[in-house]
Amino acid sequence: MIYFQLFYEFFKTGLFVFGGGLATIPFLQEISEKTGWFTIQQLMDMIAISEATPGPIGVNMATYVGYTVAGLTGGIVATLGLITPSIIIACIIARLLYKFKDSQYIDAAFYGLRPASLALICSAGLAVLRLSLFQEALWQDTGLLISLFNFKGICLALVIFALSNKFKNLHPVAFLAASAVIGMVFRF
């Protein structure tokens, strides 16, 4: 039964993947090799589409693979398989956290977790920023320092940063939509 198998494979992925998103790729490669449901070339296309659509990348990949293997139902089954371990584990942990909410150990653990988390989020944001504002490959090719900077991207980043801090009530979606239009108009 293909649906059970899909559910099982993605349940396993959801259970063992850490960090989500692109971390699911090695698991999908393994599924591809083991089952032959899709080729590595197809996987590459699926990654490109998952990155170029809204929603968590890992979830997009699960839906795409499921749909490719077994149509609409396949997409739903694979996606549910992927998030089922999250639902089980996160509910257990949430329950424990509420139960021991007043424990000084939990409090002390979060005292250390918060700055660490913030640092990880910051470095993830900066990594994307670096990729979109600096063309390191182009710089290596041409040897010209000026080709390192993606001036269009840098201007956009500065404008968004200034506007979003001046007009704090503007919804983040407004900035996303404007950036998409600017990207298309100015050929980013």
Partner: protein
Amino acid sequence: MKVYLQLFFTFTYIGAVSFGGGYSMLPMFQRELVSKKAWLSETEMIDYFSVSQCLPGIIAANAAVFVGYKQKKVFGGIIAAIGAVFPSLVIITIIAALLTNFAEIELVQNAFAGIRVCVSVLIINTVIRLWKQAIIDKSTLVLFSLVFLLSVLTSLPVAIMVAVAGTTGIAIQMLRKVMKAK
């Protein structure tokens, strides 16, 4: 019933406007769940993300479950997680059925290059905003700097860095207590 519908649609909305998953959901969480709905405080939001990233599974799904659980226990967690993946199901199914060359369309590539710049600026904004909640003294500043350097310079697994930071937090607080007692 109303709460379940609200949970579902709020997470459907967040899922539909988050590009890249995981951390890119943070600005949306901040706006929709903290500022608008007041379902969480900023501190709770950081706490949920901290735990979500060291549990197995997709960070976005884990964080959704935590928020749903706070509202309506297990069933709330399930509804929130399904809400968060619903847009992916719809959008990806349509693209897989009709537009398999979607990612190669030049306009799409241009639009997403713009969106990526925006998402990263929004994430940095959120970090600045959460700074006061997380960095409250010298020890937390040192922890932030250490983890930041480690994550930029090495490829250490996130779960390990987070686990060590949590343990360090406990150690620092216990040490303080002992010093105080003396």
